[in-house]
């Protein structure tokens, strides 16, 4: 078991670092790709033998939430606007992302943490845009957790003041339950899916702050009711924002980029304010 963070080796693999000694993380590619795991530590502890009741009242996801908090502090320290992109497989996340990266990378640093069960195909597509990418392969895992993201973040140690996209495993169920420390979850739903996806998978759409309705260029060929879809999304999340986009034609991209820019400047303003307060507090010590 890893002595630094307690992670056990297993199915998960992240590109890049060998992590800590004693770990079976290994280099598969030139590009960062880490491998680490999950699974219970097998510690048996000698203790009292008499039967008794123990009240613990502990959140099962508490451990993930603690890692998420560490990530959140790291994002703040580096003034990084981090987004957790969630969707079903085939919603066009990666295409939307490559187009977005091309627009943003001249303005400020951008990077991507890519989650997939297997392959580094998506990270390779991202790198073609010139942006930095770290692939996490979850093996049998169906979602990214905050611990994996924390290690992937170590691979992006020079990244400051920009936008970090975390492309989660294509799955509309499990990633909803795992906070990664992101500023927002962004759900991507393509119009080739059903308009009732938000109520079929309510947990995910409830967890998201923004819904990107993708592939809207295909609407003329489909019986997809946009209004109904938005109505369903607002049933599970009354204040969800919706932007209709097409990664193919560029429709709606401007609105999406403006949302990103506003979020990023908001975060930097907040960081600036905190640092100014801290500086003022230090002044008074002189």
């Amino acid at each position: 078991m890893c002595s630094v963070c307690g992670c056990a080796e297993g199915e998960t693999r992240i590109e890049g670092v060998d992590h800590h000694q004693g770990h079976h993380h290994h280099h598969e590619h030139e590009q960062p790709h880490l491998h680490f795991g999950q699974g219970a530590a097998r510690a048996h502890v000698p203790g009292l033998t008499q039967q008794r009741m123990v009240q613990i009242e502990q959140d099962i996801l508490g451990k993930n939430d603690r890692y998420a908090q560490q990530n959140r502090e790291e994002f703040a320290r580096r003034s990084l606007f981090a987004l957790n992109l969630v969707s079903s497989p085939g919603s066009g996340k990666t295409s939307l992302l490559t187009r977005t990266l091309k627009e943003l990378k001249e303005r400020f640093p951008v990077a991507v943490i890519e989650g997939d069960q297997q392959t580094s195909n998506d990270a390779d597509r991202i790198r073609e845009t010139g942006a930095q990418a770290v692939q996490i392969n979850t093996g049998k895992g169906c979602h990214l957790d905050a611990h994996m993201v924390g290690h992937a973040l170590e691979q992006l140690d020079a990244l400051r003041g920009g936008v970090l996209f975390i492309e989660n495993v294509g799955n509309l169920v499990c990633p909803a339950a795992f906070d990664l420390g992101e500023a927002h979850k962004v759900a991507i739903l393509s119009v080739t899916e059903g308009e009732d996806k938000p109520i079929k998978y309510p947990d995910m759409f409830h967890a998201a702050d923004l819904l990107l309705l993708n592939k809207v260029d295909l609407l003329p060929h489909l019986n997809f009711d946009v209004e109904a879809c938005i109505d369903y999304a607002r049933r599970v999340k009354p204040d969800i924002q919706v932007i209709q986009v097409s990664a193919q034609t560029g429709e709606g991209m401007q609105e999406w980029l403006e949302w990103l820019l506003a979020g990023r400047s908001g975060l930097i303003h907040q960081r600036l304010q905190e640092l100014e307060q801290e500086a003022q507090a230090l002044q008074t010590l002189l």
């Binding site: 502890v45 895992g141 009354p238």
Partner: protein, 113 residues
């Protein structure tokens, strides 16, 4: 599907507690699970049985306490019961509900040796 990770999380939590509270076996445990916790309780039972093998919780009985879902209706300004995220207010039919309770997922109590 993520019930497997959750079951593993339970075992990790039990192992941490075993160190802190000095016990070596868990015979029975009570979990509080809300209807909005994104957890299928039957699947969780199955996964727990699988991952608890060869651990301090092998053959432990897993009791699941299903907590009620509650939301605040912005229209009625009152608290209402819900089963799902997209439920309408049972009184006014509005979907303007803010969830107050129902996403619990916690280990409440243990019977240990």
């Amino acid at each position: 599907m993520h019930e497997m990770s959750i079951a593993e999380g339970v075992i990790q939590l039990l192992e941490e507690q075993a160190l802190a509270q000095q016990f070596s076996r868990v015979k029975k445990l009570w979990l509080e699970v809300g209807p909005l916790a994104s957890v299928d309780t039957a699947s969780l039972q199955f996964c727990f049985e699988a991952v608890s093998r060869h651990t301090l919780a092998e053959a432990a009985v897993l009791e699941i306490i299903e907590t009620p879902g509650l939301a605040w209706c912005l229209g009625c300004e009152t608290q209402v019961g819900i089963r799902q995220r997209f439920d309408a207010c049972p009184d006014c039919g509005s979907y303007q509900l803010q969830v107050i309770q129902g996403d619990e997922l916690r280990v409440k109590e243990l019977e240990v040796d």
